[in-house]
């Protein structure tokens, strides 16, 4: 695939991450402030709250989208940093392959977790 296309995907993934990770950060890390202003649903990290959220389709779907977008954005960014060091062609090929395998592996694992907990709830 052309480098300019990969870069456009990187930017698009960044925009998706901006909104979804922003939402994630507010829900997960500003939960006490949300509670203080009457907009929270309990301590975000509490076991009951976590599993209750995991069983909602909205959170499962957005989690998978965020997972894919963040992995692409992060790994492509890391790849660019490494390629900027003007490595030999062989190293670049190796890095590409490792990042594709790692990215796909993490995406499959993370998606499996999200879907499994969504379908089975508290196992």
């Amino acid at each position: 695939m052309r480098e300019s296309t990969l870069w456009r995907w990187h930017m698009l993934a960044g925009a998706v991450v901006f909104f979804l990770l922003g939402l994630h950060m507010v829900i997960m890390h500003l939960d006490d402030i949300l509670l203080a202003i009457g907009a929270g649903h309990g301590k975000a990290i509490d076991t009951t709250v976590v599993f209750e959220r995991s069983k909602q389709a909205f959170f499962m779907v957005t989690y998978v989208i965020l997972l894919g977008a963040a992995l692409y954005h992060g790994l492509y960014g890391m790849r660019n940093i490494l390629f900027e060091l003007t490595l030999k062609k062989g190293w670049e090929t190796l890095i590409n392959r490792i990042f594709i395998v790692v990215g796909l592996g993490l995406f499959i694992y993370g998606t499996y977790v999200a879907v499994f907990v969504f379908l089975n709830g508290e196992v």
Binding site: M11, G14, A15, V17, F18, L21, G22, M25, H29, L30, D31, D32, I33, L35, A36, I45, T47, T48, V50, F51, S54, L67, A70, L71, G74, L75, G77, M78, I81, E84, L85, T86, L106, Y109, G110, V113, F116, V117, E122, V123
Partner: protein, 144 residues
């Protein structure tokens, strides 16, 4: 096709490649925060994977991370996100040709796009700082 010139400075070029302006330091912090977030994110995927083991497993995993050191690390990630997201927003618009002014002929006295993009950098960094302070309030005062 011309070959890519060798990057002789390597990573050192991030900090000692010449006289840098504030945008260049934002670029360096953007990269460092990006790497930090990526490392945390990969670990986070495995940590949240403990949900597969049920509520007990989740509870015990979370208990393991309930130390001041991990809490501070989490806050650092939060701060890194605030910076990376808001600086990234600026870069996103710059890339699309916004917030940098219109192209013009190089007539003396020369103008640079810095005058257009710097105010945005300042505004976004104030927002990032506010977000980091609000996060600190949640992490260390309300969350205690």
């Amino acid at each position: 096709m011309a070959s890519t010139p060798k990057n002789k400075l390597g990573i050192r070029g991030w900090v000692c490649g010449g006289r840098y302006v504030v945008e260049r330091y934002a670029y360096i912090i953007h990269r460092i925060s990006g790497i930090g977030i990526l490392v945390y994110f990969i670990l986070h995927i495995f940590v949240t994977g403990s949900r597969l083991g049920g509520p007990e497993k989740w509870h015990s995993t979370m208990s393991f991370f309930e130390t001041p050191l991990f809490k501070f690390g989490e806050y650092l990630v939060f701060a890194a996100f605030a910076f990376h997201a808001l600086n990234g927003l600026r870069l996103f618009f710059n890339e699309l040709g916004f917030l940098i002014g219109k192209p013009a002929r190089p007539v003396f006295p020369y103008k640079t796009s810095i005058h257009h993009q710097r105010p945005w950098l300042i505004v976004l960094m104030i927002l990032a700082a506010l977000f980091i302070v609000v996060g600190g309030l949640d992490f260390y005062i309300l969350g205690e």
